[in-house]
Symmetry: C2
Amino acid sequence: MRLRQSIPLNRVADEMPDHPFDTAVALTRDDAGRYHGSAPQAYWNMAGPFGGTTAAALLRAALSDQPEGIEPVALTVNYCAALAPGAFAIDVRTARAGKSVRHVGVEMWQGDGIVATASVVLALRRDTWAHQVATMPEVPPSDAVASLPTDGRLPWLQRYDFRFVRGPWRPQTQAYDTLQSAHSTLWVSDKPPRPLDFLSLAALCDVFFVRAFHVRGTMVPAGTVTMTVHFHASTADLAAQGAAPVLGTVDAHTFSRNFGDQIAQVWGRNGRLLATTTQMTWFKQ
Amino acid sequence: MRLRQSIPLNRVADEMPDHPFDTAVALTRDDAGRYHGSAPQAYWNMAGPFGGTTAAALLRAALSDQPEGIEPVALTVNYCAALAPGAFAIDVRTARAGKSVRHVGVEMWQGDGIVATASVVLALRRDTWAHQVATMPEVPPSDAVASLPTDGRLPWLQRYDFRFVRGPWRPQTQAYDTLQSAHSTLWVSDKPPRPLDFLSLAALCDVFFVRAFHVRGTMVPAGTVTMTVHFHASTADLAAQGAAPVLGTVDAHTFSRNFGDQIAQVWGRNGRLLATTTQMTWFKQ
C-alpha cells in the first residue's frame, strides 16, 4: 500500500508528486503493519542521509492510521547509527491512547539493527486562550538576503535554500583562537519550494549547521544524537504558511566533553512561532 | 536485589539512607531483569507523584547495569498517564550500544498499562575543548532570598526549598486580563539538603511550576506530557556542587490550543550550566 494519499496529514503531495522530500518520506505498509522506505540519496549528508528526513519518515509512520484531526505536539528522535544506503523498516507502537493525547513509540531498522528511535506525542488540540511570549526578530525579507550557493555541495544542502541574515557558516583553515558565537539567523525553504506540512517542519528543525562548526570555525566529525521538536503550529497555520520561507533562529548553551547542545525557533508568516527544537550533538574533538 | 548500592551512579545514598528522594527512586530488579519501585507518597502532587521523581526512576533504571564511567547525555520522558499509588515496574531495552554512545528505551508500567516512557542517551564522555556560551544571570545569593512557605501544601512542594528571585507564583482569584511573563528565576534545593547526582538533577528539571499558571495567574487542570533534559554536568561537576542550591531560570515561548512549552536552565556553582531542559505541558483551558 502506498501511503502518500492514505494518511491523515494536512497536506498531500498531489500537486508535486516528484518533490524529493515526498520521495524521501514515502512509505509503504506491509500486511504485518510494518512500514518500509528507503534512505534518500537526494538528501545524503557526509555519512548517511540528513537527519531531518529521518525524523520526518519516523513522524510520518507515527501519524499514519490515527484519528482524523490529530496533530503532532512533540517528537524526540534518537539517532542511533548512520543509515546505510537502501531500505529501512519502521515499527510503530502505541504506548497509550488517551481521549485527546496519544503517545507513540517508533523504531527504524536496517537489517537486524535499530538505526533510530522516536517518541511522538499526538493530540486532538482544541481552541483555548493563546499567548505567544516569544517574538520573531526584525530581519530583512528573505528576497533581500543572498542565497548560500550549494551547487556541487552535499546533496542535502542542495535541497534547501539557505539565506543567512546573521551568523553564516564561514569555514576556516584553522580553528579560531577565540571561540565564536553559536548564533545564526536564517531564512530557509525547501528547494524547489514545497508547501509546509508537519513532516517538512520536523525536517527543517534539523537544517541548522552543526553549532560546533560555527564556534570553532572548522569541521570535525560530528552528528546529532538526539533531537526534540515541539510543534506549536496548527494545520491551519501550516496552510497559511504555504511554501514561503521560514525564519530560523538558532543558538547553543554549551559545549563540553564531546557534546554540544542546540536550541532553535522556527518562525512563520506574521511572526508566528511554528516550532521550537533542541538537540544534543556529538563532536569528536 | 536492592539497587541502592549496586548501580554505577556517581553517588550513593549511604550518608542519608532515609532521604525521601532515595526512597522515591529505590528500585529492585527481579530475576527476569525487570525493575520494581513504588509511586512515592512523599512526592505526591495533585494527581499522581511529581513528574521529577518519575523521570529519576526511569533514568536510574537506564543507568543500571552500564559500563563504569558512563554518564547520561539526554533524557526524554513521556508522561502517558497519572501514576496510581502503589507499585510500578520498569522495563529497560538497549536500542543500540556503540563504542562510546548508547541508546536505551525505558517503559514504566502499572498493571497492564504503560504510564511513562523514556529514551535515554548515555555516553562515555572524554575531555575536549569546551565553550559555555550561556551565562548565569547575576542574582543575590540563595541565603539572601526568602524561602517559599510550603508547610501543609502538596507533599512534593515540601520536598524542595524554593527561593524565588524573580517571577514568583502569586495565585489570583481571577485570570489576569493581560497575560503575564512566563519567566521565573529561583534557587532550588532538595529539602532536606542532599548531594546532587544525575537523578536529582533530572528531577530538578521538573520543579518549575506550570508556566500556564504564571501567565494566567490561576490554576487550571494541567500536566507535563513530555520533558527533555540535556545533561551538561560531569560527575566531577556534581561532586563539586554537593548539596548547594542550584539556580533555575525558566521561561516559555508560547501557549496555544491546550499546550504550552517550557525551557529552563539549571546552574551550579561558579555559574556552571549543569543541565538544560524543555517540556510541553497540557492545559485544559
